[in-house]
């Protein structure tokens, strides 16, 4: 049996922000400010989206001197599809709640 889970409004906001320019790499602080989420809410969402394969992450390749490389995020093809199909109506197929909890 496949269980589904409705996306939260915060997750939808993150997906929508990333979908505005799917090819662009974004860093967390900037993304959080854009969608009005603090780090305590944003990072669990980013982690879950990465775990589900909707988001890919990489490290900044050429940071300015004196500042460490930041983590950057953008939608995967599947993430772009989910965001593009209308995130507000989207119900994600896949992992159960217990699996998602177990990821941590």
């Amino acid at each position: 049996m496949t269980r589904s889970r409705r996306l939260s409004p915060q997750t939808i906001a993150v997906l929508s922000a990333l979908a505005a320019d799917p090819s662009a790499w974004r860093h967390g602080y900037e993304l959080g400010r854009q969608v009005g989420l603090k780090a305590g809410s944003l990072y669990p969402i980013l982690i879950r989206l990465c775990d589900r394969g909707l988001l890919e992450a990489t490290w900044e390749s050429d940071p300015p001197p004196g500042r460490p490389a930041r983590h950057l995020y953008r939608l995967t093809g599947e993430g772009a599809r989910v965001a593009g199909e209308g995130a507000a109506e989207e119900v994600l197929p896949g992992r159960s709640r217990s699996e998602l909890r177990g990821a941590w």
């Binding site: 603090k38 780090a39 990072y43 500042r67 941590w104």
Partner: protein
């Protein structure tokens, strides 16, 4: 990584260490992000959010809660026995508490750990530890209030409770051959057996002065668990489910017994001190004396738990190669 190392940076760096190994990259991401934020107030708000992310993760609670709980129990145990005036008894009780906590710590390393990933294994291990802990706390408190210099109970209780803990740890370890179904059958049968004994005692008081009925209910629970488990699981499942049921039933019955004897009404207590001066003295004395025969119940369950431990460890060693290759479960450690 170049770090600004103000208080906010140190805070995030500290809590990032609490993340499980598979999630450390996210801790590094938060630290790097913080380094790019300039305004002091904004840095603190971001750091507070990062702390919230880390400390609200169940995996972090499991990782840090375990040693903190052990430390708290050690402090509580030492505090309880600090007032014991007889030195050998005081240090013996400290040794008992320390030894049991050491055994609990063994539950993190092979062949007793780490605990398997399912809710059944985690629940059984946690519940079993609580039941053993309650009995151990009662035993320590009882011995701490003794007025004589008898310390024979210290090594006996240490070995007994350690046996239960090891049996439960082996049964619920990741390398244990017990399946979730086996554990559920064992816990259910043990729970029903203990409930049956409790109903019998309440319906036909007082609490019997010998543990025969408790043993009979436990054996019945073991048989039922073995029978149910064998229908689809074969001989190993039958043995494990039966032993699991026996261990669970014994621990539940002894805990119910302790509560009823300590706090139950007078009509539940068999008069065992007929020559006491007053009815109140007779009742108080009987509440103490009725514990002695039930030490046989403790021994009976200990034999089951130790047998269970030996069977699981031997089976785990046989299956060890394939289990080793299974690798760690993300987020479980």
């Amino acid at each position: 990584m170049v770090s600004r190392r103000d208080a906010a940076g140190r805070l995030v760096a500290s809590v990032a260490h609490l993340l499980p190994p598979g999630r450390r990259e996210w801790g590094a991401a938060m630290q790097a992000e913080l380094e790019a934020i300039g305004p002091r107030g904004e840095r603190w708000r971001f750091a507070a959010g990062c702390v919230r992310v880390v400390v609200t993760r169940p995996a972090v609670w499991r990782r840090t809660g375990y040693p903190l709980l052990v430390l708290a129990l050690l402090v509580a145990g030492v505090h309880t026995v600090a007032g014991v005036s007889y030195g050998p008894l005081r240090w013996g009780l400290v040794g008992l508490v320390g030894a049991l906590l050491l055994v609990v710590g063994l539950g993190r390393v092979r062949p007793f750990g780490p605990v398997a990933g399912g809710a059944a294994a985690r629940g059984l291990r946690t519940g079993g530890h609580l039941l053993v802990g309650a009995l151990a706390a009662e035993a320590v408190a009882s011995m701490a209030h003794k007025t004589n210099h008898d310390i024979a109970g210290v090594p006996v209780y240490t070995v007994m409770f350690a046996g239960y803990l090891l049996g439960l740890a082996a049964l619920t370890a990741r390398r244990s051959p017990a399946t979730t179904r086996t554990l559920i059958i064992g816990v259910a049968a043990g729970g029903v057996a203990a409930a049956g004994w409790t109903v019998l005692v309440m319906a036909f008081p007082p609490i019997p002065a010998d543990p025969s009925a408790a043993v009979l209910f436990t054996v019945a629970g073991m048989g039922a668990a073995g029978w149910v488990a064998a229908r689809r699981g074969g001989g190993a499942a039958e043995l494990l489910a039966g032993a699991c049921a026996g261990t669970v039933a014994t621990l539940l019955i002894l805990n119910v017994f302790s509560v009823l004897v300590a706090a139950g009404p007078a009509w539940l207590i068999t008069p065992l001190v007929p020559h006491a001066l007053t009815p109140a003295d007779r009742l108080a004395g009987s509440r103490i004396e009725i514990h002695d025969p039930y030490l046989w119940m403790l021994l009976f369950g200990w034999l089951i738990a130790v047998g269970l431990c030996a069977a699981v460890v031997r089976r785990s060693a046989v299956d060890g190669v394939s289990a080793d290759h299974a690798g760690p479960v993300p987020g479980i450690d």
